[in-house]
Amino acid sequence: MIGKTVIPFGPQHAVFPEPFHWRLVMEEERVLDAIPGIGYMHRGIEQLATRMEFAKTLFLAERVCGICSFMHALAYAESLEKLMDVEVPPRAKYLRTIWAELARLQSHLLWIGLAADAFGFESLFMQAWRVREYVMDMVEFTEGGRVMTSSVTIGGVRRDLHEEAIEFLLENLDKLEVGFEEVYQVFTEDPLIKHRTVGVGILSKEDSIRLGAVGPTLRGSGVAQDMRMLGYAAYGELEFQPVVEDSCDSYARMVVRLKECFQSINLIRQAIKKLPDGDVLVKVRGKPEGEVVTRIEQPRGELLYYIKANGTKSLERFRIRTPTLSNLPPLMHMIKGACLADVPVITLSIDTCIACTER
């Protein structure tokens, strides 16, 4: 075939569980241009929030994204606590940290599986998801659900961690670490995976800042930016450093996520060790009023919540900027000139979450 072909990539496609549409203008196997088509997942959450009671909006925020639902609930709760001057008890802060890191772990492991699948490495996909089930077990045991847990609420958390649960957590963390170690080794050492990722989808440090990349995409380009350093929840009292890689390609972004898994395991252990006693929930009274911006680190990067309230029972304006939205311009930049076979790899290297982006 001579000339340009247009390949519809999505909206129903085996690589992504989400409807995301690329129209790839191809010349043989090279991508000349990529035109994203979005709008398949728009649910009008921001408008719905202005009609709902602000306490119920928490559940709506949780359902922005099923992969990082905890993070959205956390961001919403933190924002409203700032608006209403609520001091969250320290134990609740630590529990939030533990659950946030569990959410990060499951999201990263999910991504690892999808990435392995994009390489056509089915057995690694299966291994990654098998390891992920340890995390899901922990989530289910401590939060009471696998996906939508509703464990965060304004003023604290809904559930407490019992002795038994802590033991279960520590036990499963050990199993998880052993299983994950194997996956990590295969991912970082397999020559064919290296061949598929090293030097593919270069995003230089300057470009990443200019195009507004966030999260692992930014850290893979050598910029040490991590919203957890702001010290929300209990992060201020735990010891960690942002994971940074300098090689600016898909491999670097992959390694950042892999290393963050170890970091998360470490953070959960630290948090369990320092877990203070006391209440997990304070009573919240009144209605929110004013404006607030909250930034937290989602598995995919910086999540920004803007909330404007006017003292009525529902919010006046509810605005979410999700990491994938910020990472789309860098993705468009990287995908031009790539091979068709690299399109899934590059697209996955920013870990797209269309559900968040379109809300």
């Binding site: 072909t5 699948d117 056509g120 490495f121 064919l192 598929r196 068709l340």
Partner: protein, 304 residues
Amino acid sequence: MGCACGDRPTSLDVGGSAVSVTAGFWLMVLGIVVAPLVGGLLTGLERKVIARFQGRQGPPLVQAFYDLIKLWQKQPRAVNRIQVVYAYAHLFFMIVSLLALLLGQDLLMILFIFSFASVALILGGLSVDSPYSRIGSQREIVQLLVYEPILILMVIAFYKVTGSFMARAAWGLGQPLIYQIPLVLVAFLSVFIIKLRKSPFDLATQLHEPHQELVKGIITEYSGPHLALIELASWYEMVFLLGLVALFWSTSWIGALILAAVFFSLLTLIDNVTPRATYAWMVKFVWKVGLGLAVVNVTCLYLG
């Protein structure tokens, strides 16, 4: 019946003469009926083994037959009529190449018929407008270009050792071919993986796993009974390729079976431990390593 030589009737003159007409007839019946049974079982076995590799229970052993019958009973929905013709042609040439191998015919001719089967599939893929199918076909063409030289070199090496292009010449050998052309056999492994569409060379399509960047590649637009035809052809293909492997140890039944089993296990193992390669990498690797090995072996034969 995992190997070609295994079906040789005992009355056969091992000097390399033709098979008698009655024996030939029964051999053909055997080939047409038993080969898909073996191929289907092997496909099921492979899926089971792969599942166990991945820590899963896996489908039942006869899963491939369930799939085939179900597909056969689905609504026939072809994009155009010529697509169906190509599906039948693909199956027909695949059966013919297997039968020719069973009857010990000319290897060069067998390989050309075999390529015909691939070409029929490619034309079927190109006859529809789907970009996935078209790009899958383009990749299949590249694969054809990649493995064809190795197959030709294999035939040349075969001729050098046996002095004949006829496959049945291998049955009269004193020692197995593998002693003299081991490197060709190694090169043949890459052809084996490419033809059976396993990782790392599962570029054009895959029958049982979701294929990523091209959905299902070359077979995207086939459905129902037409897909069943292609699935059936893939069983014949597997038996045919294992038969070619068995040719390398044609002097004993057990040797041939062992060789075929080793190749089958290697295929499953490699499929499991490798990700998909890009096609540029495939061309580079197969020509550098596969073709290189085959050329070295053939050169040694001519010099030594």
